[in-house]
Symmetry: C2
């Protein structure tokens, strides 16, 4: 097999359903011939490695360890799914305390063992906050950490395609911005339906206001719906999409769905949120969010919600006050 | 995305862990833009389809149904993982009866709904027998049905590579033949270790007879080891390898690991077993098994075991006597 690079790619949380799928996906995409699987649960991790070895992928070196110092040493790329999973009835925010502590440790471990990390995708929820915590403690440049947010936009694409009975890729640039939680801002003005602006269709018999409101709700509840249907959290879509993200940072196809990224400009301050963005080998790049008045109100509300969650994590003592972030990360 | 074909690929049993991974794997390999997921458990199936839609693969039409007549109509390729797993309290015979009945139905459904099927890979256990039952009732040419057997050989490759501390692909043409159960025949004479015949190494300090016996046992128990480590049956390796098999039949890279295929020659009669074989767009091709005296005794024992299982299924009334197979399948 041909691989894009032999720089070390670390999958953190590799014993789990998402992590094990990420490993298989990354290998199948031919990203790195040097892949290290890390998890604190060694038997499960060994089982995953055995399964991957039984696939007999040629030309690859799969290593694994339950020791973070060994896993992260010389790592150049990383995807971390290393949080606790969301259970039925739990919101992403319920996971806040436990997972932000894990994120703090992740950031500290990056700073200690792989400060030259080129890109890290953080996907454990609430990802906007865990990614932010990891960023502050890692000392990495903000362009080098992204969080999984695109699933909200791909869910919007899927829901619109189903409504109109068309191929999914005929729904172009559907976008949600802001938080990857229930306070996300679902945009209409970016999307086209087979070339026609979605905003020209909403409020007509082809897509009534009520139907559009229902689609937005379905997008927001997209993750919960998977739990209801499969009896477990989604794992195939988060793993596939997050590997596409890290792959873009490794020089594969650019990732043009929204990523969660650190924003600190005139619009929004000191948060990670889904933005109009692109990941390439230089990291993540973002532009200002633009939308109509309703959409800008929604993104403002989502931003305020993220600020409040961030401030809650500060008050819990897991994050330092914003004014002190520079002490931990000079790039902020 | 570019796909190899737009001929219909059916994943049967797609709501399960193996089937859902197969669907993702087949799409990522770019096999068919026309993939139909079939399972009798509709909510789980819908959850899998939702996850795949959230991956936003471009250029693909993913359909799904719990109706076999709709799923199999116009199918050209199929992988079937649609058996029941062995549950607590079930005897081996209970599993045999249950899964061979499912295999009979599979064969009848193929005959009724997609007699032009070009290739079907059967992977539910005991695959040598379920594949045989499906073959008899399907009416397909024997070259068009294969069963998953390669994992035994890839496990042998992995175990030898670990023992010698070398890259896995430095162990070339490791092979097991015969049954895909505990009566498999693990061969030594086919394999080379970094270019050196394995038979020249066995019985030397580099690989003592005891160590070789242990490796053979580890290969035979490879599936059970995954259950012990992961707390569930293997699903990533069977799905990846079976999709490689059907992909080869669709015109992708030839599959040169052993496949279970129907054998009826001077050596072995009227069984499906792992053979020196190759799958390409014409189906599966096999050669005679060759080995040293020990290996030929092992393959003979494995064959006799498969014959006995086949005859048990005949005595249970699920398969007709061999003399009547032609009435069901003129190609046999």
């Amino acid at each position: 097999m041909k691989f894009l690079t032999n720089e070390k790619l670390v999958i953190s949380g590799a014993a789990g359903m998402i992590g094990s799928n990420m490993a298989q996906t990354a290998i199948m995409m031919g990203l790195s011939s040097n892949i290290c699987l890390y998890d604190i649960y060694l038997p499960g991790l060994e089982g995953v490695v055995e399964e991957l070895r039984h696939c007999a992928f040629p030309g690859i070196n799969i290593t694994f360890t339950d020791k973070v110092e060994k896993a992260f040493k010389d790592a150049k790329y990383m995807v971390s799914s290393g949080g606790a999973p969301r259970k039925a009835g739990m919101t992403r925010e319920d996971l806040l305390v436990g997972n932000t502590k894990i994120a703090k440790q992740l950031g500290e471990d990056i700073k200690q063992y792989c400060p030259d990390l080129k890109h890290c995708v953080v996907i454990f929820n609430p990802a906007d906050i865990t990614g932010l915590v990891a960023l502050v403690y890692s000392g990495l440049e903000p362009s080098r950490i992204t969080t999984l947010a695109a699933l909200d936009s791909t869910r919007l694409q899927s829901a619109l395609a189903k409504h109109f009975g068309i191929a999914q890729d005929k729904v172009t640039t559907p976008r949600t911005y802001g938080g990857h939680g229930e306070q996300m801002a679902v945009f209409a003005s970016t999307a086209k339906i087979d070339g026609k602006p979605l905003t020209d269709i909403i409020g007509t018999p082809a897509l009534t206001d009520e139907q559009w409101a229902k689609i937005k709700q379905d997008v927001i509840k997209g993750g919960a719906k998977i739990i209801e249907l499969r009896g477990r959290s989604s794992f195939q879509s988060p793993s596939y999409v997050s590997i596409k993200m890290v792959g873009a940072a490794m020089g594969a196809e650019k990732f043009e769905w929204p990523s969660g990224c650190y924003v600190n400009n005139s619009q929004f301050k000191n948060v990670i949120m889904a933005m109009p963005s692109m990941i390439d080998a230089e990291g993540v790049h973002y532009k200002d969010v633009k939308g109509n008045a309703t959409e800008m109100a929604a993104i403002e509300a989502s931003y305020k919600h993220l600020q409040a969650m961030r401030d809650e994590v500060i008050s819990l003592g897991v994050l330092p006050p914003v004014s002190e972030w520079k002490k931990y990360n000079p790039h902020l």
